[in-house]
């Protein structure tokens, strides 16, 4: 089947502002959008720039705005996108080139919530044990691959990119509700700022956008509740 790709392109060395470029591509209906992008890059226009690494929905490199919504190019099938497909970079971060955005701020927010186990107590002779129920408590947020789909779909973030963003809150949630972790207070303090969870307006775009089906908005609400009641 033939599809038309409309790609928003930007070359900082040549373009003043982004421009649209159209490409006709012959694909199988069961091809992924990433395959179509590869086809363009490999056979039509080698200058097309985008990120991808694993090509299997695990590394989180190739999130982009596909037909107006944030999706992983390696996870959506062409047959679900219609004959004319628009592809744009994620919203809210500066575009480096074509579909590549500068995610420095995204990872600064990520580092700010201390996304690692904090526990100074000795681990005991074998390991820090955890019951299946305790593990279940934060299971949903362990699925995050840091693709940025949630944060860059959030209108609060578009309005103000100082907002720490859903992705960082999800990562904080993963440790705050981990029974082995002792750093909850530090993380909640970071999230209890003006630019923390309180910028969330419960819009649910993040939950909609997440390619891993994480209930992002719920995780944010749980963090708000933890701050409110000072209890996890």
């Amino acid at each position: 089947m033939k599809v038309e790709l409309r790609i928003k392109r930007f070359d900082p060395e040549k373009d003043q502002k982004p421009r649209w470029a159209d490409y006709q591509v012959e694909v199988e209906p069961t091809d992924r959008l990433l395959d179509a992008l590869h086809y363009v890059k490999w056979y039509q226009d080698g200058s097309l720039t985008f990120r991808r690494s694993c090509a299997h929905g695990i590394c989180g490199s190739d999130c982009m705005l596909i037909n107006g919504v944030n999706r992983l190019a390696c996870k959506v099938l062409v047959k679900d996108l219609g004959r004319r497909i628009t592809v744009e970079p994620m919203r809210g971060y500066p575009v480096v080139k074509d579909l590549v955005v500068d995610m420095e701020k995204f990872f600064a927010a990520y580092r700010a919530v201390k996304p690692y186990l904090i526990n100074d107590e000795p681990a005991g002779p074998r390991e820090r044990l955890q019951s299946p129920a305790e593990r279940e408590r934060y299971d949903d947020t362990t699925k995050c691959i840091l693709c940025g789909a949630c944060t860059t779909s959030c209108p609060s973030f578009w309005a103000n990119d100082d907002y720490i963003g859903p992705a960082a809150i999800v990562q904080a949630h993963r440790f705050i509700f981990d029974s082995r972790d002792r750093g909850a207070a530090e993380r909640l303090e970071v999230l209890n700022q003006r630019e923390g969870v309180w910028r969330c307006r419960t819009i649910f775009n993040c939950t909609d956008a997440c390619p891993r089906d994480i209930e992002v908005t719920r995780a944010i609400q749980e963090v708000k509740r933890a701050i409110l009641f000072q209890r996890i």
Binding site: E104, R111, N160, D162, V190, W198
Partner: protein, 130 residues
């Protein structure tokens, strides 16, 4: 460099945004009940054309109804004003404009709150019981 934005010394003890968020939930819940009560009394049980000065004066003879109306005024005004504050916070990025719009908002809210409270508290029926 960008680190500073987030990690930048969280101001401990500043729970303003937390309280503001919590206030919105609680006032929202109360407002639903208060507004439904208000609508039922003023627009369903009593038709608008029977509501006149005497009606209000009779109602406000009881301190309970004055309290009810004052609570309605207080919560609706602050709930609304806080909502606008949040919108300003999101969308007005220039420092000067922000200070200006927030100042206007606070002034208006304050004036409306004082005026409304004054009416509710100092109201004295005239020509009643005739």
């Amino acid at each position: 460099m960008t680190e500073r934005v987030y990690a930048g010394r969280p101001r401990p003890g500043n729970n303003f945004e937390l309280y503001s968020w919590f206030f919105m939930r609680i006032s929202g819940l109360l407002l639903i009940l208060l507004v439904i009560g208000h609508m039922v009394i003023m627009h369903i049980i009593n038709n608008v054309d029977v509501i006149d000065y005497d009606f209000v004066a009779a109602r406000w003879a009881s301190i309970g109804w004055r309290a009810y109306d004052w609570l309605l005024l207080f919560l609706a005004l602050l709930h609304g004003a806080n909502g606008v504050r949040v919108v300003i916070d999101d969308y007005v990025r220039r420092k000067g404009w922000k200070v200006f719009t927030v100042a206007v908002l606070y002034t208006f809210t304050f004036i409306l709150l004082i005026l409304g409270s004054l009416v509710i508290i100092t109201f004295e029926p005239i020509g009643m019981g005739s």
